[in-house]
């Protein structure tokens, strides 16, 4: 089967704001800043932009972004739902729009102001619940971490995953963040003892099994592969793209399916590899969505880097660590140690790896897998040089 978008578009510009907590700028302002930086990086004028793809959760709307940044006439715009599952989806939709001629220059972005009033953990809580929440929230399963911890406990029980395996994940990403001056945890090393004595959030998950809470924004610019050759940056080709809502899925609380440990990554991976010239064994660097540490072993299995139930053991012997690991993962620090901007920072690190500009650059890597949220309707990209 041939993919109609394989290598037909490229990411030619990236931009990001500073990451922090309690930034003054609004979410809309952060979005405009990141897009503006990405256009400068690409050497393209705002008036050339005619395509927009964003998270449905974005608070700055397309019209506001377009008139702030001074964009041209927009002929494609699309929004992807389900929060952390949307990042690669927004990039993929932008690529499909460019590849099919719906637009010529597309931007995809995520801006997030975690410290804003409406983003606070208990904002907009309704005491009477309909829909899927009524089956979990009344019993005190309140936060995303509780929802993932329920699956994590079962995964640990079924496949022998231990806290040491989860620590392997957290420690690898922290080490990468320590090498990345833009990472929130740049100057904060962590030891296994630090991890083991951290306070519980939702047992079996502790503080360091969780992502950061970050204000910030990131954006990418895409054009056709032909156009990309004439621009400032080394093009990073969008080789393959996939999305998935697996059958009978329930967002975050996937306990009601026949096999809750077969998450959205399994269905997403099938299409991604089908459309790709690369197999998992060819991939030497990955950016895997890490809102919570157990998502990493689940994703390693789903995307085919190891067999079912082998994801925890895969993390042993520094496998996820730069420079000597089998699969250096989240090489800028990821959501757990660089910044948590709904996973969009993983897209930019994938681009830097393919440009050769990562602070933990994997030599000779020809492709990079980037994934969005496991546990929600998701998406993934395979980028190549």
């Amino acid at each position: 089967m041939t993919s109609t978008i394989k290598d037909r578009t490229a990411i030619v510009g990236i931009g990001q704001t500073a990451f922090g907590k309690g930034l003054d700028a609004s979410e809309l302002s952060l979005a405009c800043q990141a897009i503006s930086l990405a256009l400068d990086d690409a050497g393209l004028a705002p008036s050339e932009v005619d395509g927009l793809a964003m998270f449905s959760m974005e608070s700055g709307r397309e019209v506001e972004v377009a008139r702030n940044v001074g964009l041209g006439d927009i002929t494609y715009f699309g929004e992807i739902g389900y929060g952390g599952g949307a990042g690669c989806g927004a990039v993929g939709h932008a690529a499909m729009a460019v590849a099919t001629g719906q637009c010529n220059v597309a931007v995809a972005w995520r801006a997030r102001k975690r410290s804003a009033k409406g983003s606070r953990p208990w904002a907009n809580v309704n005491a009477r619940l309909g829909g899927s929440n009524q089956w979990t929230r009344p019993f005190g399963l309140l936060r995303p971490v509780d929802e993932v911890a329920m699956l994590a406990r079962r995964y640990m029980h079924e496949f022998g995953c231990t806290r040491d395996h989860l620590a392997n994940v957290a420690l690898a990403f922290r080490k990468h963040a320590n090498r990345n001056p833009n990472a929130t945890m740049h100057e904060k090393p962590m030891t296994r003892a630090d991890y083991m004595k951290a306070r519980w959030i939702s047992e079996p998950l502790c503080l360091f099994d969780n992502c950061l809470e970050t204000d910030g924004a990131l954006a990418v610019v895409l054009v056709s592969a032909a156009r990309a050759k004439d621009l400032k940056q080394r093009p990073v080709y969008l080789h393959a793209f996939a999305q998935s809502i697996p059958r009978q899925h329930q967002v975050m609380t996937n306990y009601f399916t026949d096999d809750p440990l077969l998450g959205p990554s399994w269905a997403c991976a099938r299409l991604l590899w089908q459309h790709s010239d690369f197999a998992p064994r060819d991939v030497r660097v990955a950016q895997l969505y890490d809102a919570f540490s157990p998502l990493i072993p689940l994703s390693l299995e789903g995307y085919g880097f190891c067999g079912r139930g082998e994801g925890a053991a895969f993390t042993n012997d520094g496998a996820l660590e730069w420079p000597n690991g089998r699969l250096p993962t989240n090489t800028a620090g990821g959501g757990m140690s660089e910044a948590y901007v709904h996973g969009f920072n993983l897209v930019l690190e994938g681009v830097r790896q393919m440009r050769g500009t990562s602070t933990s650059q994997v030599d000779g890597a020809e492709s990079c897998l980037v994934t969005s949220g496991e546990g929600v309707p998701t998406s993934a990209l395979l980028l190549r040089r």
Binding site: S132, Q134, R199, W200, S202
Partner: protein
């Protein structure tokens, strides 16, 4: 009045009959009237045969612990006051692929923080009890099979 706990809307389109059942002390599961497939959570259409007709079957209320978490702060105030507390997922005896989220309690009127977390085991048999919170009866679970 500001409700301290998050509670289901007992008039929810798809789930009202479930919550009427718990108020009568019955654990009901939505069942397709055409093909007999049971489904949790309830929904308007049968994913096996697309029938819009369903009935509610009364189950034994017995199951086993499939997984559990122990929640610690930060939490909503009413829940934080009980923390650390357990939340369990129960696989129902009639079909272990039918699961419900609830809490393990020590006695029918017990609180969700009374069980020592170190004693909770995946695979442990449990049975349902119904606890009234405001106008809703929530299914919670007690270790063991007998009354």
């Amino acid at each position: 009045m500001e409700s301290a706990f998050l509670l289901p809307d007992p008039d929810d389109d798809d789930a009202a009959d479930f919550w009427r059942g718990t108020a009568r002390g019955e654990l009901l599961v939505q069942t397709c009237a055409a093909c007999g497939q049971r489904r949790i959570p309830p929904r308007p259409m049968c994913p096996a045969c697309r029938s819009l007709q369903h009935r509610w079957d009364k189950l034994s209320g017995c199951g086993t612990i499939w997984s559990f978490v122990i929640a610690h702060p930060p939490l909503l105030p009413a829940y934080q006051a009980l923390a650390p507390y357990n939340v369990i997922t129960v696989a129902l005896d009639e079909d272990p692929k039918l699961r419900l989220v609830g809490n393990l309690i020590a006695r029918p009127d017990g609180a969700i923080n009374e069980i020592d977390p170190a004693t909770i085991r995946i695979g442990e048999p449990v049975r349902v009890v119904f606890q009234q919170v405001e106008d809703v009866y929530l299914p919670r679970w007690i270790v063991g099979r007998g009354q």
